[in-house]
Amino acid sequence: MLRYKWKLWSAIAAGCLMSAGCSSLGVKPWQRELLSRQDMQLDGSGLDDAIDDHMYFSKEASSGGRSFGGGGCGCN
């Protein structure tokens, strides 16, 4: 149990550090050429992710995390 809590808090701490350092990170608008590419979008694999998530939802005890689930499934 201790190990699991350690993982959770480590990840949250990583997020806090990331947000604390945000003001010194980033690029100017004219430096976004690579970032604007479709394969660099965090939701760029929309249908693939939806199909994979449905498969994993029906075979594993954990799901979600990336965005809201829902839409339901009485999966077997």
């Binding site: 699991y4 993982k7 959770l8 990840a11 949250i12 990583a14 997020g15 990331m18 947000s19 945000c22 003001s23 990170l25 980033g26 690029v27 100017k28 608008p29 430096q31 976004r32 050429e33 690579l34 970032l35 590419r37 479709q38 394969d39 660099m40 979008q41 965090l42 694999s45 929309g46 249908l47 693939d48 939806a50 199909i51 994979d52 449905h54 498969m55 994993y56 029906s58 075979k59 594993e60 005890a61 954990s62 979600g64 995390g65 990336r66 965005s67 809201f68 689930g69 829902g70 839409g71 339901g72 499934c73 009485g74 077997n76």
Partner: protein, 438 residues
């Protein structure tokens, strides 16, 4: 969500978006023929479609067409629709353990063991599965994002899903705010889900004897979720995101078709009982995603840690690498995913006949301790670069193949009669998908 002060603005934007959607072709002046109008209407939308075929080794197979349509609105908003259809058939494990003896079960619609046409017998050593499982699901969703200001966006969405024995409706809303010259985005979202279950043959009384057919009517389940996200542009080729999520489900959380074997001291089944899970479940997760890009390559690495009040802890890591050919018109994308989970506190592969009374018990292998690996390969080609007259920028055909293998950890030491039997067979599945974007 506080909309009071800005509701007039939101309403105007809603009307503007609706007019933009409905009047997009007529607004261009010359209406032309109906074909032209349809063509212009389609021109404003981006479509993605895929047809997936999923097949497990000796179990379920599924066909799943999916389509989504997205339109960027003139006010900076976005409207998205998606539609999914699933058709499943094959053989679904019922939860009972393999045995050295033949085992006879009744299909979910049976009211007794009297009608032979509702019965199926499983050979010694085989995993008990209902051989006539079939189901179909239709699901659809809509998401609408609208700008509240130059740096702030609101999105609202809804999803519905229908199966013969399961109906689900979800609504969600989220607000996003950009900071730091749009290099940092913070989002906060909430969602609510309502599910209505009407199991074939009725919802069984939890832990009741399988042979008594004690079944009731329908059941319901509710869920609420909270998601907080932070997206950060790290450098000109690195994008990072972290999400924290919390959700809670309550109500009927059992699988109405799953049973648990009750074994005597030797290990032979004496009866079966319907499973029983706690009627609430709270999950917490941390999800970290990264994209790194170069001139002809890009990589994605996501990590997720999830824990819940059922005692399940899971770790997930997924890595994708996309490699573009020299002409930047084709790509290959290998991927690998690793997953492991611990067992739910009430996971019981079987119940000893002379053991203590169980409050909760489920033999569903999805609640067992296991690890899983997925290997994938995707190939895509931009059609506009090869067939200029055929498509527009972004038109793409792709094909994807994935192999999934789940290896269940052995449970407690098996009684003598079960020695030598494969009590926890691994699951192997293949997914083949073709996709077209326009």
């Amino acid at each position: 969500m506080q909309l009071g002060a800005d509701s007039g603005s939101v309403r105007r934007k809603l009307i503007a978006a609706s007019c933009a959607l409905l009047g997009s072709s007529a607004a261009r002046g010359d209406p032309g023929s109906i074909t032209d109008q349809i063509g212009r209407l389609i021109e404003d939308w981006k479509f993605q479609s895929a047809l997936a075929y999923y097949r497990e080794d000796g179990r379920i197979q599924a066909i799943e067409p999916v389509i989504s349509a997205v339109r960027d609105l003139s006010d900076g908003g976005k409207l998205a629709f998606n539609f999914t259809f699933d058709s499943l058939s094959g053989s679904s494990p019922n939860g009972a353990l393999p045995s050295r003896l033949p085992q006879t079960f009744a299909s979910p619609s049976a009211r007794s063991f009297a009608a032979a046409r509702h019965l199926y017998t499983v050979s010694p050593g085989r995993l008990p599965s209902d051989p006539d499982y079939s189901d179909a699901r239709v699901a659809g969703g809509v998401d609408w994002t609208l700008p509240l200001s130059r740096l702030m966006r609101l999105s609202v969405g809804g999803k519905v899903s229908y199966e013969d024995d399961f109906y689900s409706a979800t609504v969600s809303t989220a607000v996003e705010r950009d900071f730091n010259d749009k290099n940092t985005t913070v989002s906060l979202g909430v969602s609510g889900e309502f599910d209505f279950l009407q199991p074939i043959g009725g919802a069984p009384t939890p832990l009741s004897d399988y042979a008594l057919f004690e079944k009731g009517g329908h059941e319901t389940k509710r869920g609420q979720a909270l998601l907080v996200g932070l997206t950060q542009v790290m450098t000109r080729n690195w994008l990072s995101e972290i999400n924290l999520s919390l959700d809670r489900f309550s109500g009927y959380l059992n699988d109405p078709y799953k049973i648990v074997s009750v074994l005597d001291g030797v290990g032979d089944p004496v009866s079966y009982v319907y499973e029983n899970r706690p009627d609430s479940r709270t999950r917490r997760s941390v999800y970290l995603d990264n994209r790194v890009g170069w001139k002809r390559e890009s990589a994605g690495l996501s990590l997720r840690y999830m824990t819940d009040t059922w005692g399940v802890h899971s770790d997930t890591a997924q890595f994708r690498l996309r490699w573009w050919t020299a002409g930047a018109d084709q790509y290959f994308e290998p991927s690998v995913r690793w997953y492991r989970q611990s067992a739910a506190d009430f996971y019981r592969p079987w119940i000893p006949q002379d053991g203590p009374q169980e409050t909760y018990a489920s033999a569903d292998s999805r609640l067992a301790a296991f690890h899983a690996l997925t290997y994938g390969l995707k190939y895509g080609i931009r059609l506009a670069d090869h067939f200029g007259g055929f498509g527009r920028e972004g038109t793409e055909f792709n094909v994807r193949l994935e192999y999934y293998q789940q290896t269940i950890q052995n449970g407690p030491a098996a009684p003598a009669a079960l020695q030598g039997l494969d009590l926890y067979p691994s699951l192997k599945a293949v997914l083949f998908q073709i996709g077209f974007s326009y």
